[in-house]
């Protein structure tokens, strides 16, 4: 069945990167599995509405991110964060410290970050999406994406550096 093969190919192509993005958001295996499955379920129901096949990847990541936000809204309303106007501090993580940190600790560090930065930072490291695509996935203007990403990267690296030898901050 041709259409069956298409769906299988799509799953084969994207289930791993989608799961990793989901895991970076939820940090639990079961929730990440469910988000990934839910994304493909929505694709099966609505994917035919997408006319531009080059947008498949963006569509899937956008859908997963929206499903995550929806599930968060259901579980608990969390406060709206405004970006502060405080000048950004550049990150202070050196390559030698970074190389000694294990993968589980890196993902765990995401949990300590402000929620608004988690998805941009996960996409920054996990995917090769353009900033325009990331803006579409997160449904925010490209300038906001860059701003959140920069602050998020700094926050993540500073969290990771707390346990190690940080290089001199350059601000």
């Amino acid at each position: 069945m041709a259409s069956g093969l298409e769906f299988e190919s799509l799953v084969a192509c994207y289930y791993q990167p989608l799961y990793k993005f989901a895991f970076s958001l939820t940090r639990t295996e079961a929730d990440a599995c469910d988000l990934t499955q839910q994304t493909f379920y929505i694709w099966a129901a609505k994917g035919h509405q997408l006319r531009d096949e080059s947008k498949v990847k963006t569509w899937l990541f956008t859908t997963l991110h929206r499903a995550f936000l929806e599930s968060r809204r259901r579980q608990a309303r969390f406060p709206h964060h405004e970006l502060s106007e405080v000048p950004m501090e550049l990150p202070a993580l050196s390559p030698s410290v970074a190389s000694r940190i294990d993968a589980a600790h890196v993902v765990k560090a995401l949990e300590q970050m402000e929620g608004i930065y988690q998805a941009p930072v996960a996409l920054f490291y996990l995917e090769d999406c353009s900033y325009k695509e990331i803006a579409e996935i997160l449904d925010v203007p490209i300038g906001t994406v860059k701003s959140r990403m920069a602050r998020g990267i700094a926050q993540l690296q500073n969290i990771l550096a707390e346990g190690g030898v940080a290089r001199q901050k350059t601000t």
Partner: protein
């Protein structure tokens, strides 16, 4: 452009990606070639990026997730995937397969015990899901589950017999069928939504200690009760607290 301004721009630069062609980075990249301090900082930034990217990508994907997704696939089909995409997808699938084989021994196993089952089912209940069959007729639900070769000869606990069913979903756990029967309590907060779910599987599908008396516990924002009876394991999930679940047992 100052060195500091260039650093703030290059902080978002991802080596090895299309960022190299992005005009937003071109001035700062040019400056990094002539500014030694900026060059050192940029080299470190690229190294840290590559290291952290590698760490993020080490997240292991649970065994069986792909099969689970395919098993739950419904009748809806995407309509436009063309030959070029198929070829690209096939190549990507081959790469995924090779990568999966190469890291096979390093992958953590999914918790296949009762806790893993319970967590998966609770997550399923609390998230949006597509009803395979929407009906308030329990006989039709049993008929559908029989037809789908999913457990259908279950016995409802006394407290659940008077609650209105809303439909059912067929699931897989470790490639074994699981029936999900949905009910709604009539809670005014959820007037049109299912808020009680009964999962039924054969005993041999889930590794769990037999218990005739329902064991109640809190899982995430839900409350569960599980018991075994006549070769079946039952998992009742409600969106309420521990006191609320007892009236459905």
């Amino acid at each position: 452009m100052t060195t500091q301004e260039a650093k703030e721009i290059l902080l978002l630069y991802r080596p090895g990606t299309a960022d190299a062609e992005d005009p937003a980075f071109s001035d700062a990249l040019r400056l990094s070639e002539s500014d030694p301090e900026l060059k050192d900082w940029f080299d470190e930034h690229c190294q840290v990026y590559q290291i952290l990217r590698g760490k993020f990508r080490q997240v292991a994907v649970p065994e069986g997730l792909k099969e689970q997704i395919l098993a739950e696939r419904k009748v809806h089909e995407p309509g436009f995937l063309h030959r070029g995409f198929k070829i690209a997808a096939a190549v990507a699938a081959a790469v995924v397969l090779v990568a999966a084989i190469s890291v096979w021994t390093m992958r953590p196993r999914e918790d296949t015990g009762f806790t893993g089952f319970e967590n998966r089912m609770v997550s399923k209940a609390l998230r949006s899901y597509g009803m395979d069959l929407a009906t308030d007729d329990l006989a039709k639900i049993r008929q559908y589950l029989t037809q789908e070769k999913s457990p259908s000869d279950f016995t409802l606990p006394a407290g659940l017999k008077s609650v209105q069913p809303t439909g059912c979903v067929t699931l897989k756990w470790q490639n074994r069928p699981v029936s999900m029967i949905c009910f709604k309590s009539g809670d005014p907060l959820w007037p049109d939504k299912s808020d009680i779910w009964l999962f039924v599987a054969d005993n041999n599908a889930v590794s769990a200690e037999p218990t005739a008396t329902p064991a109640i516990e809190k899982v995430s924002t839900a409350t569960t009760a599980h018991w075994t009876s006549n070769g079946k394991i039952y998992l009742l999930v409600i969106a309420g607290n521990e006191a609320a679940i007892e009236k459905y047992l």
